[in-house]
Subunit: 450 residues, 2 copies
């Protein structure tokens, strides 16, 4: 770009700014300039003739957008379909049969649009998604305007987009070929778990990921049953099993990591493997409490994730920050465990690092991408303001997010989407859910309430 | 009231209705009539000439208002002043010194107004408050339009409104004399705890309460330290101690009740003593997890409370419902523990019972008081709708509340207070917080951000 070219610029003025959660100083904000996709200046005096669009952020906090480092976005279409059930009953009586019947490309596109809108409105600017028909997830992320790490699901057993057992390699290659080349989209691979992917599958997926410079995700040690199963089958605990398969490392992301031995915690540390901590989902399914606070102390990078809306049942990283902190305090008996500032780091700069995006997002710095949110502090539950970081974690809600920029684009303005018709989306969601309800013999509340 | 007298009537039409959380049937709603302070009809066909004001509740859920059965409302003025600290440091270095200096009548009035507004906007129609200068709390509840169980704090040591040790009796009598006689206000007494009130104080407070037909509250077994302390001093665990003092029973409310022996759980059951469960506060201060699910199974009435905003740090019963359920599942390892419907009961009908108000509020029935909320289900994080009760507990936020009626009065309309100027209130709060900040040498963010 020549110095003479005119790039659209937006100026944010006034309010408070929390530019780098790694050193949690919140300071009065002067002005910040977004030029194209990037931050041109952060909290610097304004040059007179720059402004094209000025946004007044008085009584607001400007901060990096939140990152949801683990979800299955399309599953928002199954939100609340089956709760308060044991995991196996939930999976086998509800989730798997419904997915087998309904999880087609349209389902994935529509469900991911719904989730992307929910996330954007709650201040999430980047999500890491793992599911099927993932070119549809990428398309939805682009249509809503969210940044996505879009990971194609891999299982040894038949799945909705690879109905032949063992055909995952073809499906993954198809996805990688079709995945839109766009600055918002980072393709990746997602092995379901040690119990649904063989060592050979993990090795081959890892090889495919390394060849193309992609991240590889997997659920690991989500339940005690999994640890027993893997130990019985392979004579190794899940992370040991993955280490033997050669997949741990800075390009591997372990989701959940609840039931770990001391040796497995060492493995995380030694290999530089990142962890995604999903406190609300882990509580709701009674899976247990990952020792996220301990991983951080050992130098492991920990991000926060919501998991899918069928198990959580929303996609709100404000809640996950609060729950991560509260859960840590309850489990350790220490009120100083996982303080507010640590929770914010897991939702921003450390999540960016786990996803390999920390050179581009996670803090507000000139030259980084303009992924930022403006949180309205001028609400009864957010006054008085003694400590903005405490307020974010312990008092705020996703609905306090006023404006959201992703890649320099204002996708949420005054709490409404600018990119997609929310009303029309909800109609389509309701229509599809009506069909799913019918198949399960559930009440169709939307039809009945007019 | 004669059949001829004209009482202002409001008609709610359309939407879904969840009239009695004790049997969680959510059904399509026809029309409900509010006449004066009461529900005249609930979900019955509309007679033509009744309507004065019709409110369309399409795509909303109509349900009983939520009850916050434990808070220290004025402490919202100290929200976020000191977090992530051990309890004793939090109390002695921050809360007690600030209260000693600032907790005057104006502080109590202003802080309670702030909390009442926060609560009303999040769908709370009744709160049970325990603090000092409680005629100010009652005045604030009336000005905001909330129903309050207003309990005068009692301590053996000097307190902000009874600076002479032992003068609590005079202060309590003054409160009971001055407390406004209003259908919204139920006066009560609140002994701080077994460690700050002697057996004699408990007996005398109980006698005063019984003479006047009032509830008596106390914090009980909030920490292991308290159990050790009381056992050492009195040779009895806290609930045993209270039983010996003769105060347990249907007019006594035990707040927290975390560290109980089997014998103490029996005492709750045998005496009909109610419990207020405050899951988020208990997690945040690392106090432990009350066995709320077990109390319910044993037939003890359990209500939910937020505790004060200085320790929580917000007053949101939607969050407490979710946290009560998630905490129960985590602690028991059972995903079926404390299901969504049980959490809603604790926040509505059972809370009304604990507060002795179940003949008037807690369910929507003709003849009961019109304390009800209208929750907007037409939002991206609340679609699709397979199970409205799950949606309330696991997906909704306080900010999804659209309209709030208390005693037949519409105090929140379309998410805004109708009774009080929110803006002016926040200015006054910010001004007072500025003075508190100065005294503690904290940053005054509001002055600095303009």
């Amino acid at each position: 770009m020549s110095p003479m070219s005119k790039t659209p610029e937006t100026i944010l003025v006034n309010g408070l700014i929390f530019a780098d959660p790694a050193s949690p100083n919140v300071v009065p904000h002067g002005s910040t300039v977004i030029s194209g996709a990037h931050l041109a200046q952060v909290n610097q005096p304004l040059e007179d003739d720059q402004a094209l669009t000025a946004i007044d952020c008085s009584h607001c906090l400007i901060m990096p957008g939140l990152v949801n480092a683990h979800t299955h976005a399309a599953m928002s279409l199954l939100r609340g379909i089956a709760d308060d059930l044991p995991l196996q009953k939930w999976l086998h009586d509800f989730i798997f049969p419904v997915e087998e019947k309904h999880a087609n490309p349209e389902f994935v596109y529509l469900g991911t649009c719904l989730s992307a809108v929910e996330m954007a409105l709650a201040g999430i600017t980047t999500f890491a998604d793992g599911y099927f028909h993932m070119e549809q997830s990428a398309a939805a992320a682009l249509d809503v305007g969210l940044r996505g790490v879009i990971a194609q699901g891999i299982l040894d057993v038949p799945s909705p987009d690879a109905p032949q057992a063992g055909s995952w390699k073809d499906r993954a290659r198809t996805f990688l070929d079709r995945c839109p080349k766009d600055p918002l989209i980072t393709p990746a691979l997602f092995c379901h778990s040690p119990y649904l992917c063989s060592p050979d599958t993990f090795r081959k997926a890892h090889e495919m990921a390394r060849e193309r410079g992609l991240l590889l995700f997997s659920h690991v040690s989500e339940s005690r049953g999994e640890v027993e199963d893997i130990t019985r089958r392979y004579g190794a605990r899940p992370l040991e099993y993955l280490h033997r398969a050669g997949v741990l490392g800075t390009h591997f992301v372990a989701v959940h990591a609840i039931h770990l031995s001391e040796g497995e915690k060492d493995l995380l540390e030694e290999t530089g493997t990142s962890v995604v901590h999903c406190p609300e989902c882990n509580m709701k399914l009674a899976s247990g409490a990952a020792a996220a606070w301990e991983f951080v102390q050992r130098g492991t990078t920990v991000a926060l994730g919501t998991d899918g809306a069928a198990s959580n049942n929303n996609l709100d990283v404000f809640e996950e920050m609060r729950s991560a902190s509260l859960m840590a305090k309850l489990v350790t008996g220490d009120p100083e465990a996982l303080p507010a500032a640590a929770a914010v780091r897991m939702a921003t700069v450390d999540a960016a690092k786990a996803l390999g995006l920390d050179d581009r997002i996670g803090t507000l710095e000139p030259g980084k991408l303009a992924d930022l949110i403006v949180v309205d502090l001028d609400r009864p539950h957010l006054v008085p303001l003694y400590d903005p970081v405490s307020q974010l974690v312990y008092s705020a809600r996703g609905s306090d997010v006023k404006h959201v920029f992703v890649n320099g684009r204002l996708i949420v303005r005054d709490g409404r989407m600018t990119t997609i018709d929310e009303r029309q989306l909800q109609w389509r969601v309701t229509e599809m859910a009506g069909n799913i309800s019918k198949g399960l013999g559930l009440t169709n509340y939307r039809d009945s309430q007019k």
